[in-house]
Structure formats: C-alpha cells, structure tokens
Symmetry: C2
C-alpha cells in the first residue's frame, strides 16, 4: 500500500486523497502536524527537502508535489483521468497549470491572510489579500465560461484537472471566497462535492479543519 504524509486540513494533501479514491488506490495516511512545524523536522526533510506536504512513498520511491503524485498514480493505474492521447493530455496539463499557478496563487493569498495568519500570529498583509481577491475576480469568469462550454474543465470527461481545481477551491467557504455568482462554476463545484471520491475523504472541508 502507498504511504501518504500530510494532514487533513491541507487541501494539497486532500487532492491526492481524492485522486487515490477516484482511482481505487488504497493509501495509509501518516499525519504531519504542520502547526507544530513537523514538516521541517530532520526526518521529514529527508522525504521532502522543501518541507511541504504531501509526500508519497510507493515502496522505495519517494515523491513530493501533489500533482506530480496525482499524475504518477493515474499513470500507474492507466486511468483516463489523465488521458494517454497527446492532445487530450496537453489540455488537461494546460488547465492544471493554469489552476495551480494562477488560481491557486491568488487563492492562497486570500486563504493565508484570512485563515493561516491569524492562527500562527503572522501579520495580515492587506495588499496581498486584496491582490488575491482581484486576481480571482479575473480568473473565475474564465473558469465559469469554460464550464459553460463543457461539463468538465478539460472537456466532456472528468480528469485530474477537475480534481485539482476542486482541491484548490475546497476551502472557499472557510476563506470567505464566494463563487455563487459564477453559476457554471458553482454547479460544477456542487456536483464535484457529491462525488464518492470527495465524500469518502470528507463531506465538507470545514468539518476537517483542525483535524
């Protein structure tokens, strides 16, 4: 069985859990207490020198970065969540990168300042928070238009691109990010949260906060 290292309040860890569930891959979750700084322990740094979760171990093979792990697992299972066809795969990669670099970058500015900073006693950076919100207002319409054209992010079939975006937006409610005015995006989000790969992990992100 593969081993995952992380915490249930990390949406990047949950991303890999959603993917593993969707693939039917069993995993053992080893808790890493991020608020206690366990990700910087000597033991953990041997697994990931960057000091971030998740980390995966498949036998002697150790890997970090949530999407690299997700793609590895999908590839190992030969799953259509990450299509073999070159152009189809490229479109999945495109939406993953857009979401990981741009949407997540903006979302994290909001989440850090509204959720993490108060918990760890860091100063709230209002400029960063505002910039994040401004960028999300630029990116959400793009996603909304995309979901107006196709059922899933990269076309007519569920792919890793959807699970990635689901994990990024999962803490939206607790971070006070309202997507309800983007109707296509909101419908897709509600649909995703009813999928078994999601509910098997948690019924709502809010309930796993602090666990």
């Amino acid at each position: 069985m593969i081993k995952l290292y992380g915490a249930g309040y990390s949406n990047n860890v949950n991303k890999v859990r959603f993917v593993a569930n969707a693939l039917g891959v069993e995993y053992e979750l080893n808790q890493v207490d991020l608020f206690q700084g366990q990700q910087y322990s000597e033991e953990f740094i041997k697994l990931n020198p960057v000091g971030k979760v998740p980390v995966m171990q498949d036998g002697n093979f150790t890997l970090f970065e949530s999407m690299a792990i997700s793609k590895y697992l999908a590839g190992k299972e030969g799953s259509n969540l990450y299509p073999q066809d070159l152009q189809q795969r490229a479109v999945v990669d495109q939406w993953i990168d857009f979401c990981d670099i741009h949407v997540q970058g903006a979302f994290n500015r909001v989440a850090f300042n509204r959720l993490i900073a108060p918990q760890v006693g860091a100063e709230v950076d209002q400029n960063s928070l505002n910039f994040g919100l401004e960028m999300l207002e630029k990116y959400f319409p793009v996603l909304d238009a995309q979901f107006g054209q196709s059922k899933y992010l990269a076309g007519s079939e569920l792919s890793l691109a959807d699970i990635n975006l689901l994990a990024i937006l999962d803490p939206a409610e607790v971070a006070g990010v309202d997507i309800s005015s983007y109707q296509n995006l909101q419908s897709w989000f509600q649909n995703m949260k009813q999928q078994e790969f999601y509910t098997k992990c948690h019924s709502d992100f809010k309930e796993t906060m602090g666990q």
Copy 2:
C-alpha cells in the same frame, strides 16, 4: 510549422523557445505586445481566454501554459527530455511543479516589483518584494543541494525540469537576484546558458529586454 504567440522579454515564452530549440522543432514567433495590452485583445482572447503568453498552435490545435506546451512538444517528438518511464517522468514533474509554483511564485514577486511595476507605473509593494526574496532564500538552498547531488535537476540527464528552471531564473541579473553564493546552482546556471538551445534564442536575457 508550429506557431508561437508571445514576446522575447517574456521568460515563459522563451521557455518554450528553448524547448523547441532543444527538440529541433521549428516555430514561427508571432509578437504580442504585452506593454500595449495586446494579450487582452479580442483576437488574442480567442486563443487564450486568460490573456497570457505563450500560446501555441499546431495546425488546428491551440494550447496555452508554457509547461503544457513544452510537454506536448517533447511528447510529440518522443524526446527523453520528458522520459516515458513512469517514475523518471514523475521526478521531472515534481521538480517542474516545485519550480513553477514555489520558485517562480517567489521570483515573480521580486521581478514584478523591481522590473514591471516601474515600467507600467504600478505601485511597488515592498512587503511582497521582501516576501519573495525571503522565499527565494528558502528555496535556493534546496536547488543548490540538489545540484550538489546530481548534474541536472531531475537526475543525471537534462530534462524539461532544467529548461523550466533556466527560464524562470533567466531574468535573475536584471531583477537583482544574486545566486552566486549558491555555487552548485550557479555552475548549473552558467552551464545551461552555454547550451545551443539557449544561445540560439539569446546570449543573455538582458539583451532581449524591451525587444
């Protein structure tokens, strides 16, 4: 011949040009004037709704996001720059994602505030600039240690992970980011800048600024 849309002062565009050069793939570069906002024109938004460069067209197939394009081109050519072996590919993906999300995210805070903001009359955000520098001081030692262990970022062979990092760090000098104290990283960087795929594009990033 594939078409690229972008500008020579965009390191994400140059990333794809380095990859195309390394693969021996010819391309036609269509200039997009980012300082004039041409990336938000009605015509360009049809190619990429996000309004960012680069965009690639291969016949009727249109793709955005620099690494998605790079992986597509390497896959089409069957190149070892993006290995077929599942674990080798996963390690390349891991370093690409680490660099794209974390290193680039931090670097862009520095580059935006030092290079772009003064040119477009935007306010410099000193907190963001400082946070970027602080994060780079955390990530550079990880890269330096990695280059102490292996010749290239993902192992003994050149891969897309190296070309990605090269493109991210290419504006380091003009952005006042000094990597000279990280000797392994610096040696790798100097080696990369001597490769033909790089010199065919430009001999130094500074010389192409503003073109």
